[in-house]
Symmetry: none
Subunit: 212 residues, 4 copies
DNA sequence: AATGAATGAGCCTTCATTCAT
DNA sequence: GATGAATGAAGGCTCATTCAT
């Protein structure tokens, strides 16, 4: 259908531009120009700019999950599952194409939430969070109480996102780090090793702070 | 002095508003209105909106460092230094008053750099990064090679910032976590414990694989 | 067509106002108000104020040439051609309607050039200058060398424009001179007579000294 | 006196800047900056920007007349007087230093009169015009009636100003013409020769237009 | 189903002027 | 006698949105 053509092109153009410039800085005109559509087509197909953005977010999330499945399945060994999760997390943020918008869009959305965030949490973020905690619990064993699992999950997620979120700074301070496939693999290896070591010893550490 | 009056009020108003809405979304008019100053006073005192922003950034950084010094000094035990660094890092981002802008401003600036980032990196971020790596090396001992120190430093920094950067999501997913003083202390304790465990074992882990 | 409506009204309003007040002093708001259009319509139709001005200039030039063709053709006697040229020159600057902007706009542009001048020289002024020199050469005969033709051409052009350029002063000093059709015809007659006499005798005059 | 210092510097700075950029485009701030004076000093010394401008005009006129006296005196031969007048006229517009502002300022004022023009006509322009007509009458002899003298005077004045008024165009179309001392002398020679030839023959020409 | 034209609110910036000292 | 600070009125431009077709 001709409609689908325009709609689809609009979605794609909006994803590229908004993920690069942010919601505000991206203009409807630029999006329409790139999609080779009329300025009025955003209103026509999506009602307004914000609704277009919300559809972009959803589409990006779905494609990113499809491109980088976060879980090989509960029948795999715990470390392998965690490794897969970490890799999926990292590549979801750094990939090319539509899947990569998701990282950028999420980062924005988390920092500067719009009404779209609640829906996003429900459909995308909470399931991931639950999955991560499940894996951490598996890896950590029975000595890790719920609170510890929660915090350790946060630490893993933190590491997976930091490289992307701070990329402009990282590029300046650590030029030896690369953002290509090999660099990201090295990063994933580090995060896995760091986190496994941490969790393995965590139960023995005095979480109250080591104050003498 | 009259000069201090308007200039100072402008700086304060700009910090509050820009940190909340971002550079673009914050309007000179709103800033001036809140500072009870004329629209033209931004030009008079700072030249333009961007220069005002740069001064805000500098002032926020300096005040945040003054409020939360990151290093008790090299004569303290390594773990204590790292603990102080982590606490300073966390509180710097979550602080009240002018210092609190810092977190938001930095986060924005890192994700969506303006021309101000280079100066910020030079004066604020790189020194912190160097200090952190020094501490990690102290804690990790001679078995940690340079690459490992670099990556472990990233992991620590990641955890310190994540709680703030993802606060809107954390609030929704983990309502049991609090952002008050006590909650932040608990977080700092966790990050220290997690990171110390990780570094202590890191040298033994097979970084390329993660399985012993 | 609706398009022609606003665009055309904008062009007309801009011509009137800019020719009267100058490019800087003329405001987009005033132009739009007179054209009964929105402030944003200048951007929509012309991109910005300057481009609008350039189109005004072109349109004024073209209409002025159409209203007052400068050359009856090379098959007419030399004096007749020169007379036609002078009349056309004068009336082009003093004309009514859109053509009348041309004088003002040209005068401004010559004195205080914008980027539009180069294009104007290429399309409007140089062809006129070439035509004038051709006529002067015809009238002056073979005794007039190139340098003399050039200077005599300048003198003719000077006279044609002076009455307009100095009109505010002329009105004050010589109230007997009129700017109506009859007054301009008298002026044209004078310029032709003055210039023909000058050129006829020029070859014999000692240009370096002026005393026979 | 210190006041005179500032006042004088203000006058000089305003002359330079306004003659170059025009009254509107010249800003009080730039003038004060160049004069190393406070922004408020214009109000203090002259009341407002326009009054400053009027004083600049007067001062420039007086200096220009002093630098380039237009008349060697009635006891000199007619052609010599006219030659001196033409040279003075031309150099007044093209000179360097304060005298040169006058040309620019006059040209502006004539095209876009302010309230200062009436005073300027009374004190500067009309006396010059009268003088020129006297010279033309001397040169033309008794056959030239008043009307002819008037028009011929206009033609001489037109030529003297045209080279300056159209300089931006002349530079583009006739790059062989120079604006240095020698070029201006050549121009003066031409104008004198052209005008003398014209006037000498003018009485014989059919001023009504040469229509057969 | 889709569009080119038009809108109005609002943005940053600029400037001559004035105020308080 | 002189100034740095402050003001208010614009100015050009931008953008999401809407209208008429």
């Amino acid at each position: 259908m001709t409609q689908d053509g325009t709609r689809e092109r609009l979605l794609r153009a909006a994803g590229e531009i908004i993920s690069r410039k942010g919601f505000r800085a991206a203009t409807v005109r630029e999006i329409c120009a790139r999609a080779k559509a009329n300025v009025a087509s955003v209103k026509y197909h999506f009602g307004n700019k914000r609704s277009l953005y919300e559809e972009v977010l959803q589409a990006a999330f779905e494609e990113s999950i499809r491109d980088h499945p976060p879980d090989p399945g509960p029948d795999h060994p715990p470390e392998e599952r965690l490794r897969a999760f970490i890799r999926s997390f990292i590549f979801r943020f750094h990939g090319e194409g539509r899947g990569s918008w998701f990282g950028r869009l999420m980062t924005r959305e988390m920092f500067e939430p719009t009404e779209a965030l609640d829906e996003l949490v429900r459909r995308a973020i909470r399931p991931m969070s639950d999955l991560l905690q499940e894996m951490v619990r598996e890896v950590g064993g029975p000595d890790l109480d719920d609170r510890a699992v929660l915090f350790c999950g946060l630490s893993v997620a933190a590491q997976c996102q930091h490289f992307f979120r701070s990329r402009e700074v990282v590029r300046r301070i650590h030029p030896s780090l690369r953002f290509d496939r090999q660099g990201l693999e090295e990063l994933a290896d580090h995060i896995l090793a760091f986190s496994l070591s941490a969790v393995a010893n965590y139960r023995r550490a005095d979480r109250a702070g080591g104050r003498p």
